[in-house]
């Protein structure tokens, strides 16, 4: 089954020497260097800061939600926190984090040796920072989906900065997409599509998604601004506009948007699994097909985000339902592939010990836990019953965003850690972080599912004191604290180990123990 070039195209080989790159970075390399590792490290560390900010906001509003009634936050600050939490986590943390990990991995794994169009990545980074600053200044309270006309009528006189931030995010993501597509295509051209490592396929899919979807987000940002200025009235029904125009435009970006962090995370699983197991992925072409199907479906299923109305009815509505259900298939191909790879041979002891490997396993678990409920979300009958805009939806996407993608981001940074610091993280702290997160995320997602099934509405600061609502909310808040604690341990670990961790040389992830002599050996470390 495994052909000659499998080890290469699976990206199973170690590519870097452990080196204290971060210690040698100066302020100017940190800010402006176009070296791929510098850009990637900057992106990852900034994302950790964004995760900290977004998480702090979550902990604040979760404290408010622990008990019915209003205790510490009023409705407007609560909604600002919730809006910024969503925007920071999606635009600031999760997408840039996994994309930065790809920036780090691509040059060696795809063999381009440098990040092509690195200046695009640099601009992408700085535009995103600018967007984040604008968001903090304007503190919008219109949720991350900013449905007009509500979003045109809330917020203070600075709310226009929020619309500009949306435009900047779109440009930033577009540039990142161009960089990824360029690198993927260049590698494909050099080594051929049939030998392209799966990370290359991930980069191409991600690039297509970003480039295809972000222009319309930019347009939405511009039109929101001109609508707010009352120059145009495209989205405001009271002045002759139409909300449905917004819905179609926004979700044309909005659905691919949820796959933006998914594709790199999937590509990272495909890269790291062979690395830890010392054998190729079970099926290369199954993975490639799954990438391709998912990319196509991402662009056409977006009307499932708004409920059936006159605009989406009849055959179109049914087609959307069928296609949405069909997303099950490529996602399952990925998971099936990973499980088959794990099952096909012994799992080396070195992998079982490695913290990033544990995070990968947890990610696979959460991809299933979050993914299966899409079966319920996709059906119009259940959607009109209890899914639409109850906590069932946040449960689904938190399982995916936090359970799968954030866990994979953590797997990526733990994996790369010895390569850019020259030292190993503290194993005990890493394990504790792992368990705090998995218990926290599992509890949180389960409680959200339960609340959704009990019709708990989204976006509320206050709720009725019903036992089926208040008990899960209290547990949910506890889970949020646990995740926060895990995050603090993680930050402490990476800061402390950068100076005091065990120095490593050679291959920090060398495969030891339980590995069969007959299986495909990875190319040893140079």
């Amino acid at each position: 089954m495994a052909s000659a070039h499998d080890a290469e195209r699976m990206g199973a080989t170690p590519h870097w020497e452990p080196e204290d790159i971060i210690g040698k970075m100066t302020l100017s390399t940190l800010l402006f260097s176009n070296d791929y590792r510098h850009i990637a490290i900057k992106g990852m560390l900034t994302s950790v800061v964004m995760l900290g900010l977004g998480g702090l906001m979550a902990v604040l509003f979760r404290t408010e939600l622990a008990y019915p009634g209003i205790q510490i936050l009023d409705a407007r600050p609560y909604m600002s926190l919730m809006t910024l939490h969503g925007m920071f986590m999606v635009f600031g943390f999760i997408i840039p984090f996994v994309v930065s990990i790809m920036y780090y991995m691509m040059p060696k794994i795809l063999g381009t040796e440098q990040l092509l169009w690195a200046r695009g990545a640099q601009w992408s980074y700085w535009l995103l920072i600018l967007a984040a600053v604008l968001l903090i200044i304007s503190r919008p309270d219109f949720t991350w989906t900013f449905y007009p006309p509500m979003s045109l009528r809330v917020g203070g006189s600075l709310v226009w900065m929020g619309y500009i931030a949306v435009l900047l995010v779109a440009i930033s993501e577009f540039l990142a997409g161009a960089v990824l597509l360029k690198n993927g295509m260049a590698a494909a051209k050099r080594i051929g599509y049939s030998k392209l490592p799966l990370m290359g396929w991930g980069a191409i899919s991600e690039g297509i998604l970003l480039i295809g979807s972000t222009p319309i987000l930019g347009l939405v940002g511009i039109v929101m601004y001109t609508d707010w200025l009352e120059v145009t009235a495209l989205f405001d029904p009271s002045r002759g506009g139409d909300v449905m125009t917004f819905m179609f435009m926004f979700w044309f970006y909005g659905h691919p948007a949820v796959y933006l962090p998914l594709m790199p995370a999937v590509a990272i699983v495909y890269t790291l699994l062979p690395r830890f197991l010392g054998r190729p992925i079970w099926s290369y072409w199954s993975a490639v097909s799954a990438f391709a199907i998912l990319t196509v479906l991402a662009f056409i299923v977006y009307p499932h985000h708004f409920q059936p109305a006159e605009n989406v009815s009849g055959p179109l509505q049914r087609a959307v339902q069928i296609l949405t259900l069909a997303i099950f298939i490529p996602s399952t191909l990925h998971v099936f592939n990973w499980i088959a790879t794990l099952w096909s041979d012994k799992i080396p002891d070195s992998a079982r010990r490695a913290v990033p490997f544990k995070f990968i396993i947890a990610s696979i678990f959460f991809l299933m836990y979050g993914g299966v409920t899409a079966y319920v979300n996709a059906q119009i009958a259940t959607d009109s019953d209890f899914v639409h805009n109850t906590y069932f939806v946040p449960a689904h996407f938190h399982a995916m965003f936090v359970g799968f993608m954030a866990n994979m981001a953590m797997a990526g940074i733990y994996y790369l850690y010895p390569y850019f610091t020259g030292r190993m993280y503290n194993q005990g702290l890493g394990n504790t972080h792992f368990w705090f997160w998995q218990i926290g995320i599992f509890t949180k997602v389960t409680m959200m599912y339960l609340l959704g099934f009990n019709y708990f509405p989204r976006w509320v600061v206050d709720y009725l004191d019903l036992p089926q609502w208040s008990i899960p909310q209290l547990i949910l808040t506890g889970a949020a604290y646990l995740i926060g604690l895990g995050f603090i341990l993680f930050v402490y670990n990476i800061m402390r180990s950068a100076n005091r961790g065990v120095t490593v040389s050679g291959d920090p992830w060398e495969i030891k123990g339980g590995h069969d002599a007959g299986a495909t050996k990875p190319v040893p470390a140079e």
Binding site: M150, V154, E310, L342, W343, H388, T390, D462
Partner: protein, 204 residues
């Protein structure tokens, strides 16, 4: 929850399917991690599995479409949505128009009486709600009746429910973020007790 068509088990069936699939996945993951037996899956397994998923997709689509069409059918009845439709003649026992605004609901009954906090119905009635809003997007959800609907300003949306058999007060809430007062946007579905002498109107 029992929905308008009187089906109780549909959602549960779907949730059970979901958990069976999840259970299979987790079992496979744990087997791959902890079972001493190693298993090189043949590629045919995957095609078999995809076939299974296709059946799931087919079943989900079939059930959902069936239910949704059965739900829509009474709304397509001649004259239902016109002014002057006489409830009781046809599919519905009562028609209530609902104006959603920032932040509350106004229920307008057939006699043009307006209530700001309660829709008053008899037990087990089939009630048609004509939803409309003029300001922003709102949601309309009655947990006890198993309905959630989203509707945008300028367009009327019609949904119907079967009122609970048990007299009492049932929550009606907005599910779509519509501004800072969103969490206070609640009202009651009051199911009158047919045996009680004087019914008090539910106050929120």
């Amino acid at each position: 929850m029992e929905n308008a068509l009187g089906q109780v088990g549909y959602q549960s069936t779907m949730i059970i399917i979901v958990f069976v699939v999840l259970g299979l996945g987790i079992a496979a993951l744990f087997a791959a991690l902890f079972l001493p037996t190693r298993w090189r899956l043949p590629y045919s397994m995957e095609f078999l599995f995809v076939g299974l998923l296709l059946v799931m997709v087919w079943y989900g689509d079939l059930r959902s479409t069936e239910i949704f069409e059965a739900y829509q059918a009474p709304l397509n009845e001649e004259g239902v949505l016109e002014v002057g439709y006489e409830p009781g003649d046809g599919e519905f026992d009562r028609v209530i128009r609902v104006l959603a605004f920032q932040w509350g609901f106004a229920f307008i009954n057939e006699e043009d009486e307006i209530s700001r906090n309660a829709a008053i119905v008899e037990p087990g009635e089939r009630v048609l709600f004509g939803l409309f809003a003029n300001d922003v997007i709102h949601g309309f959800n009655i947990p006890a009746a198993g309905i959630t609907a989203e509707f945008e300003p300028g367009a009327e949306r019609n949904v119907w429910i079967r009122a609970p058999e048990e007299p009492g007060r049932y929550l009606i809430q907005c599910l779509n973020y519509c501004g800072v007062g969103h969490s206070q946007m609640k009202a009651w579905l009051v199911v009158l007790d047919p045996n009680a002498e004087d019914n008090e109107e539910g106050g929120a």
